[in-house]
């Protein structure tokens, strides 16, 4: 190759690289404030706040840490209530019912004590412990390993509520979060879930194949001032209490002050937000 041609190719290559790289550099250096301020019309610019207390209370969340307290004593001998809680979650979130241990998707489910609390003994366990199943779900940890390992921030801890959320738009399906979770709380969509959904909730989307999903503490219901679906399902016995763990006057804190509670895998340092009275 003669010298002129080589020089030309070098300059052309460098220019092409610069041309391809320029938009990325612009995007990285542009501050987020700039992006939203380009919107000048009604819909984008004006975020009308509603005066109603419901909305206000939901969005004024500084340092809120939402948690669950599951009082299993109220559920012993009532496996139908555990099923009711699971079914409420399934219906509210369009969760597919796949009859296969390999490909199933479950956000909240029941399992024996030995499986729910692997660090507790079942040696000479009581009859109640051995005969009943326990509700398990995502613990919405304060220091979640799943968030630490996600390479795209598709799962992230919402600072305002303490909920460990999922952004299905960004998930690339690497399943590293499933590896990281010490509670086995996450499920993956191994194929298109829609054929397996029994009934659609028109207010909530489904998920597509290739993304990981899990319990999100019913964020969409909280936004409307409702309680999580599982909490509401067992409301008649008041078995699940949902509230702000950082508010010393909340119902959940008052119960935690009085009763002895245990948590799953407490020794791993994930600081889970789900407590059990067994």
């Amino acid at each position: 190759m003669d010298k002129q041609r080589r020089k030309f190719l070098k300059i052309a290559g460098a220019t092409a690289l610069a041309g391809i790289g320029a938009p990325a550099v612009v995007k990285l250096t542009a501050s987020p404030a700039l992006a939203s301020s380009t919107a000048t019309t009604d819909a984008h610019g004006v975020q009308a706040e509603h005066g109603s207390a419901g909305h206000g209370a939901e969005s004024a969340s500084q340092g809120v840490r939402l948690g669950l307290l599951i009082d299993m004593r109220k559920l012993y001998g009532h496996p139908e209530l555990l099923d009711k809680a699971t079914a409420a979650c399934v219906k509210a979130h369009n969760i597919p019912q796949i009859d296969s241990k390999k490909s199933e998707i479950k956000w909240i489910w029941k399992t024996p004590f030995a499986n729910a609390f692997t660090d507790q003994t079942v040696n000479h366990a009581s009859k109640t412990t051995l005969e009943n199943d326990f509700l398990v779900l995502c613990n919405h940890c304060d220091e979640p390993p799943c968030v630490r390992v996600c390479p795209t921030k598709a799962t992230y801890r919402d600072k305002d509520t303490g909920i460990v959320s999922m952004d299905y738009h960004r998930c690339i399906g690497c399943r590293f979060c499933m590896m990281g979770c010490p509670y086995g709380a996450r499920s993956f969509n191994w194929f298109d879930p829609r054929p397996y959904i029994k009934e659609y909730n028109p207010d909530f989307p489904t998920r597509m194949r290739g993304v990981v999903e899990k319990c999100t503490f019913c964020r969409e219901r909280l936004a409307l001032g409702q309680e999580p679906a599982c909490v509401e399902a067992v409301k008649e016995v008041g078995a699940i209490v949902f509230g702000d763990l950082n508010d010393p006057n909340s119902e959940i804190r008052r119960i935690l002050d009085k009763e002895h509670t245990i948590q799953r895998q407490a020794a791993l340092g994930t600081k889970p937000s789900v407590f059990y009275i067994v």
Partner: protein
């Protein structure tokens, strides 16, 4: 010119092949600009003027997505006295209930395949597996 007999016809063939999309579609219905059907409910106003929506509805949807999911700002948007919850299913599809006649008519023409409906339900689809109680 050497090989004039091969080169000239070859060039003409090449130009025809390269401009195929233009002259082929000029005479077929594929070139007609689509007219998306307006909402069957008769609503005339959207979250933003039609020209702006046409240009940047995808940007707005992405912004809504990030605001709702990542920033937790789920407060509804009020435009012209009407309240819209931020979301494809919750806002857009409430009026534009027919995805095929509205959304798809432009998307097919411009050969755009957004993956929104891999997850988000259209009212028609949701009705297929309705609640039985």
């Amino acid at each position: 010119m050497y090989n004039k007999g091969t080169i000239i016809p070859g060039l003409i063939l090449f130009v025809l092949l390269v401009t195929f999309p233009f002259w082929f579609n000029a005479f077929s219905t594929a070139s007609t600009v689509p007219k998306p059907e307006l909402p069957p409910g008769g609503e005339k106003q959207c979250v933003a003027p039609a020209a702006e929506m046409r240009a940047s509805h995808m940007v707005m949807l992405n912004q809504w997505r990030d605001e709702v999911l990542r920033d937790g700002k789920r407060t509804a948007v009020t435009v012209g006295g009407k309240e819209y919850r931020k979301g494809l299913q919750m806002a857009c599809m409430q009026c534009h209930t027919n995805k095929e006649k509205f959304c798809d008519s432009c998307h097919l023409y411009t050969s755009v395949t957004p993956y929104c409906w891999d997850c988000h339900l259209t009212p028609a689809l949701a009705a297929e597996k309705k609640e039985t109680h």
